[in-house]
Symmetry: C2
Subunit: 203 residues, 2 copies
């Protein structure tokens, strides 16, 4: 009993340390510059430890991406919980996609690399799909019963695309704040909707 709980605690700790080290190495050296040696060094451990706690390098990478995705999704979920009107939920979804402290060049770049790698990596592609499905379903919860299907599709695509584009721009170092970005996406949402639709969403 004690044995298992301790073992689990250490294991989880080390795994998390390695994931976070991997994340830091990734930020500094890019996807190509991530070596097991560097990751372990960054974590203050010996090179062999990685195989002890993970199946291999690919495993650490995947865990890292999954963790990041979870953080982003949670940011949206916590914002959504507090909103009362449909429009409030829309604001929460958009703002949640530009979390303070996470909407930074290196993190954006990490996400970009994963997008690119999705083309040749099934596991990444799956994470990606889950992420987009969640965004779309969140947006659907805002516009359901207010917009006809075709229009919803157009607006959801426009907003989702905008969010992606802003992250991409952020990855190149463009000086965008979470506030700027949220405001820009919202302004597009406002522009694309009729006054009547906006009123209905605000109710």
């Amino acid at each position: 009993m004690t044995k298992i709980s301790f073992r689990t605690r250490i294991e989880d700790l080390r795994r998390r340390e390695l994931i976070e080290a991997a994340h830091r190495v990734f930020m500094q050296h890019g996807l190509g510059g991530m070596t097991t040696k560097r990751i372990c060094e960054e974590a203050g451990m010996s090179p062999g430890i990685l195989s002890y706690y993970f199946k291999g390098k690919e495993d650490v990478l995947f865990a890292m991406v999954r963790l990041n995705n979870r953080l982003l999704m949670e940011a949206v979920a916590s914002g959504l919980a507090q909103a009362t009107t449909r429009w409030g939920r829309l604001e929460a979804i958009i703002a949640g996609n530009f979390p303070e402290g996470l909407f930074e060049p290196n993190i954006a770049n990490a996400w970009l690399s994963v997008c690119a790698a999705s083309a040749t990596n099934q596991r990444y592609a799956r994470l990606q799909r889950i992420f987009y499905a969640r965004l779309k379903s969140n947006l659907a919860s805002v516009f359901r019963d207010v917009l006809p299907d075709a229009r919803f599709k157009q607006i959801a695509l426009a907003l989702g695309t905008m969010i992606d584009g802003l992250w991409l721009r952020r990855a190149t170092g463009e000086a965008l704040t979470p506030q700027d970005s949220t405001a820009l996406v919202l302004s597009v949402a406002v522009a694309l909707l009729t006054e009547a639709e906006r009123a209905e969403l605000a109710a």
Copy 2:
């Protein structure tokens, strides 16, 4: 005389063949899967040839990216030349950013990889900057003297971001045609402008 001109012709030919081979390998195996051996094999040459015509692998990659960028820029330029009104120029710029036959998942993915690599590769970053500067300057030529500076900045950012976002989505395999994408960006442009502004642009 004959000697030099022949030599140059062969040299340019081989370089181009290698660049195109590199491009095909890139499409199929991603940035990480590009090896000199594969490139040369794809070009139907022996592995050593690469060092003969290029400084190294990095050199081929850079040439490849530069060529792609040039193709995209030329697509825009040729469209721009035919437009007569400001609005026509706007349409040309946007449509030119989704060229038929180039707006495809593998090409989009290539571009994405380069974006990601720009973070740790100075030369890529420079190409990127040139590309964005060109887009911005093209958009400026449309809105100059019609919109105040702050508004131009907002709209240019919105449209540029949208274009980037659509390419990113295309990279993930989303079923977007050049026509869909152009229409979506234009619809956002229409929505963001006032009726008076649109009239002035159409003149």
